[in-house]
């Protein structure tokens, strides 16, 4: 490693972690659902509301221009963070779900026809499944799925069976939120390009966890949520290649997205503004910009390495527990572990863990079809971030070992 990082000092940046839950020190292992926020982000949002708050793009007064600078500054930061060619390729959204719906309802409405194929994978979160089902229903397009194999990876050696020239768009997750699988996104995009398919990457679990560069990956669209990467809830972004965004019709109509309006018709701004009708989440964007700065200062490669070390430690410990079965692949995986325990249903186990101050997630993780396929009633998931420690993983393993005995 090139630099030594003081992870203890970094952890101290997160005020929420310093508390007891049910009389025990909080261990927050539900980061795949939502991450905690560092002081730098909380302060940036507070400062914005204390000093600069106004509406953007219209006001001719000082506060409005400060708010506009803050909002557009955040867009520039996100563009750099993702390696986009320009800030115009970044559309602010409420999060991953809204980004996918935006693409399905604008790009999809214009370019997807009856008989076309929308290709997904069997490991998609409901948010990268339901919007496409809705599009298929409206257009008469067909859905097709790249299967998940026994080891929790995609059946890539047979990709050509599903990725055929009828495929209009191939939408897939970067990191599975339940299995932890990291998909080879650059390879998938190359294969999609070869058959003329557009690609969309669900980066909800990856954008804050490992380096993501849209031009290196070669994707057409990429979506993520701010709240999973230290930013506030209700803000996220859609990256779209300029050429595609330009060809897409606007989404919601209203203020902010128009050039001129008469009673009969309107003309629209160019991307990204034509997709941002109404007053945007300016405070959220400011928080996202601060989160990007914060993550960049640590370095995403270092964050990934840290989370991976915790994951490997957890995997080793969990595998040693009697009646505990880890889901997903052994390697090429992100910082989360889904598992089952013979003695206890995921909900009983998460209730048990919660009573010990340990926040886990239990259930189907918005992966109902996948759980059905894997014949699982759900899993219990521990998901890590850079402020978590090996000592916390050890504490979790001890709590789970007690749970095995408790429920036996």
């Amino acid at each position: 490693m090139s630099k030594t990082i003081d992870w203890t000092a970094i952890r101290a940046d997160f005020p929420i972690l310093d508390q007891e839950v049910r009389g025990k020190p909080l261990i927050y292992f539900d980061n795949a659902a939502s991450s905690q926020k560092p002081r730098a982000v909380i302060d940036a949002v507070s400062r914005y509301y204390e000093r600069d708050n106004a509406n953007v793009h219209r006001g001719l007064h000082e506060l409005s221009s400060r708010a506009t600078d803050a909002y557009e500054g955040a867009r520039t930061k996100v563009a750099a963070y993702l390696g986009a060619a320009s800030a115009e390729e970044i559309v602010f959204t409420r999060g991953t779900t809204e980004g996918i719906n935006l693409v399905a309802q604008t790009w999809g409405a214009k370019f997807v026809r009856e008989g076309d194929v929308i290709l997904l994978t069997e490991m998609e979160h409901h948010s990268n499944l339901v919007p496409w089902q809705m599009l298929a229903e409206r257009t008469g397009a067909r859905l097709r799925f790249v299967p998940v194999t026994e080891d929790g990876t995609l059946a890539l050696e047979r990709l050509g069976e599903w990725l055929t020239p009828e495929v209009k768009i191939f939408a897939f997750t970067h990191i599975s939120n339940s299995l932890g699988t990291i998909n080879p996104v650059a390879d998938l995009c190359r294969a999609a390009r070869a058959v003329g398919a557009v690609t969309l990457i669900d980066a909800a679990q990856s954008a804050g966890h490992l380096p993501v560069d849209v031009r290196e990956i070669g994707c057409d669209f990429l979506v993520f949520s701010g709240h999973k990467m230290c930013a506030p809830t209700g803000i996220g972004a859609l990256y779209g290649r300029a050429e595609l965004l330009d060809a897409m019709p606007p989404w919601h109509g209203g203020g902010e997205m128009i050039v001129s309006v008469s009673y009969e018709r309107s003309t629209y701004k160019k991307a990204p503004y034509k997709f941002e009708a109404g007053t945007p989440n300016i405070g959220g964007a400011v928080g996202l910009g601060a989160a990007v700065d914060y993550l960049e200062a640590i370095g995403r490669a270092a964050i990934f390495e840290h989370d991976l070390a915790l994951t490997q430690h957890a995997l080793a410990g969990l595998s040693a527990l009697p009646g505990v079965h880890v889901q997903g692949p052994r390697d090429r995986r992100g910082g989360l572990v889904g598992f089952t325990m013979d003695a206890a249903h995921p909900h009983d186990l998460t209730t048990y863990a919660d009573q010990h101050g340990l926040a886990l997630r239990g259930g189907h993780h918005c992966n109902q079809p996948l759980m059905k396929k894997l014949r699982l009633p759900g899993t219990t998931r521990a998901s890590f971030y850079f402020y978590n420690t090996t000592a916390e993983v050890d504490r979790m393993l001890a709590i789970l070992a007690d749970a095995v005995r408790f429920f036996a």
Binding site: H345, H347, D348, T351, Y352, Q355, H364, M371
Partner: protein, 153 residues
């Protein structure tokens, strides 16, 4: 070690979740109800055979889910069998009170079901405890619909 957990997962409850009683299906002449908690994936298939006077002649269930939902359903089937409709409805109400509010002296008719009183400390788990009972409530409605009302639901 943790009183609330020990209260929630008493040995009788864990025993019923692992070895559910009246597990199965009544093939003939029974009202069949499917119930689920979509947010957590718990499922139950309940068969209730009612006598002509509305009494619960037999009741069986099949289910998938957490210890609380399965144990509650198992204990419920044991207690409901042989009860008149009035008694069964009373029990449904009493059990709901037991898991949702502080009941100083839970009615004796609930028997071992009283062991589920610990659920009230875990508001997110009330729907688990109630899954089987909601299905039974639906069975009562279906029975009423089938015999009293001639209108389509």
């Amino acid at each position: 070690m943790n009183t609330e957990l020990d209260e929630l997962y008493q040995s009788v409850i864990l025993d019923h979740s692992k070895r559910p009683r009246n597990f199965g299906e009544i093939a003939d002449g029974a009202v069949q109800v499917h119930g689920d908690n979509p947010s957590c994936g718990d499922e139950i298939d309940l068969s209730v055979k009612f006598a002509a006077d509305g009494a619960v002649e037999d009741v069986k269930f099949k289910g998938l889910g957490c210890a609380i939902s399965q144990a509650s359903a198992s204990l419920m089937t044991m207690k409901l069998k042989g009860k008149s409709e009035t008694e069964a409805r009373e029990m449904l109400r009493a059990f709901h009170d037991l898991v949702t509010s502080e009941v100083a002296d839970p009615p004796r008719m609930l028997g071992d079901l009283r062991l589920l009183a610990g659920v009230r400390k875990f508001p997110q788990r009330v729907k688990c405890a109630m899954l089987g009972w909601r299905a039974f409530e639906q069975a009562l409605e279906q029975k009423a619909g089938g015999t009293v009302s001639t209108e389509e639901a």
